[in-house]
Symmetry: C2
Subunit: 335 residues, 2 copies
């Protein structure tokens, strides 16, 4: 199968073993966090080489990266080894960065264990490490050998984590796939939703791996969402990525409305869907003021303006919409 | 001009300014070390944004990488910025790694200031950072926008540094270009030698950017050379990269002879050329014993055997020659 593709499995252990057999892989090194070590590793045969990292975005930093590299060296990982990133977005982001830079890149494969990772983070080869609270300021574009999705892991997740994943599903629907957005509103089963979202993400990614144009659509909600996520990390009240994105999407939907990119009906449809499915409220006045300095640091910005990907109706969008910080604040504070 | 290509200049300042004008580049950030800050930066117009790193391979580590990233953030580098790596191999290796991973990769350009960087390190998009004395264990394949070569910088170099560059020229001649090896032996002027070596390297690199096959030829001398370089760093007696490679090449030439890949005449021709032009002696018995454990860590190895690229006659070579550690020691100790 081509690099970066998604394999949907109903028996992750068998699928993984078959893959290793077919590819002649003998040396496997698993990277997981303390949660997936406890809840997900048990589904596999005994792995001999396991690197366990602390969980949470706060640990997606250069110290954890160094820790992984040190352990890859200790485990004698080389160019014939395969790294398996078993976990949520933090694990595939940092494990992918380690894999793509260790010895200038060895093979890695993602087995996402959170809904968010299944539909978004594990797909498309963006790896990332935060630096001094700057989200994903270090990273590479490097496709995993495969993404192996098995919904069995969803049973291990707390409800908040599921809502976090749903937020990224809504994002993909609003900005790129009207059918998916419709499915999210009519009670379609989760396996079908995962499939629809993951495929949409992969198709966009395949057309624009290096994130020059179309792929930027998937940043909807992320300009404000990332700033909010950094802010909450900053004040020691971390929020799950998807839940920050839910808040970000609500704010950015208001901006799209103010810019006449969506009508009032679409505004309500989108905001209600986000609020209902993720149980998030919109940003408070305090939040809006707190994130202003962080918006300026967003790495999507060129020059002084803030850069957005915004919906144009439901199911499509526009990238590189530059908006002045003052205007953003005016729109959000008056909403 | 296509990414990764070499531009030979006789006026580096004008060439650089013309490039920026043609490409519409406004934001330039220079990475240099304490030596090139002093001796090379003066040849340019005033740069506003300069990141000065400590010199030497010992500083090509993750701490210096973090330092560069921190300063890129401080200088508000973004996707429209251009990084200029002004220096020798250490600067282009670590500056390239920073450039290729900051925000998942921004543009960078190399202006090599040492002979070694002009003919080897700055060309071909291998970036690298050492990790716990493991040479280039972190890195990416990422082509610079351009390599701007002006021999004017050679005037700033100590003699040892020139010999270090000559070693990589000899390497390229022995393993890939008989005409170059001949030119090195008949007093051809240095500008011509630089041109011949740099072009040979770039042509090989272009055919095999990801170092899967032919490019590995350029590792001649580097299996033993890297081990020796690490060993000397380890005992606090660092040796210049090219001088370590000179010793590595002499040893690996002996291995090639023992494996009947070159005849006695070629053996003497190669060893004499290296000894004469770099003024290096062959490895001592003590050296050979000291590097054994380090040879096992070479990242070119697969499984237990040590992996070499060895000459096959003069001007061509063979990659992936696996030799047992015991056999290596026997050959070298009996030489």
């Amino acid at each position: 199968m081509a690099k970066g593709q998604i394999f949907y499995s109903e028996n992750v252990k068998n699928s993984f073993n078959n893959y290793c057999l077919a590819e002649g892989i003998e040396e496997v090194i698993v990277i997981c966090d303390v949660n997936t070590e406890k809840h997900c590793l048990t589904l596999f045969d005994d792995f001999r080489n396991i690197i366990v990292i602390p969980s949470g975005e706060i640990n997606k930093d250069i110290d954890t990266y160094s820790f992984i590299i040190k352990n890859l060296i200790y485990l004698k990982a080389n160019k014939s080894s395969l790294i398996v990133n078993l976990g949520g977005g933090v694990v595939s982001d940092i494990g992918g960065f380690a894999g793509s830079t260790y010895m200038r890149g060895i093979r890695f494969l993602n087995i996402p264990t959170t809904l968010l990772a299944m539909v978004d983070a594990s797909i498309g080869g963006k790896t990332g490490v935060d630096f001094l609270l700057h989200k994903n300021y270090l990273g590479t574009f490097a496709l995993p050998e495969m993404i192996l999705i098995d919904p069995v892991f969803l049973k291990t997740l707390p409800k908040e984590e599921l809502k976090s994943g749903i937020a990224e599903m809504i994002k993909t629907g609003v900005i790129a796939n009207a059918e998916l957005f419709e499915a999210l509103n009519n009670g379609t089963e989760v396996e079908k939703l995962i499939h629809l979202t993951a495929q949409t993400k992969w198709e966009i990614t395949e057309r624009d791996l290096l994130d020059k144009h179309e792929r930027q659509l998937l940043n909807f909600g992320h300009t404000i969402g990332h700033a909010f996520e950094s802010y909450r990390l900053n004040i020691d009240q971390p929020i799950r990525h998807g839940l920050a994105i839910a808040k970000g999407m609500m704010a950015e939907t208001r901006i799209a409305y103010a810019l006449n990119m969506i009508n009032e009906n679409e505004l309500n449809l989108i905001i209600n869907c986000i609020a209902k499915r993720t149980e998030q409220t919109e940003l408070s006045t305090e939040d809006i003021q707190a994130i202003a300095p962080l918006l300026k640091m967003d790495k999507k910005n060129l020059k002084e303006e803030i850069n957005f990907s915004l919906p144009l109706g439901v199911g499509s969008g526009k990238v590189k919409v530059a908006v002045d910080l003052k205007q953003i604040q005016k729109i959000l504070l008056n909403a």
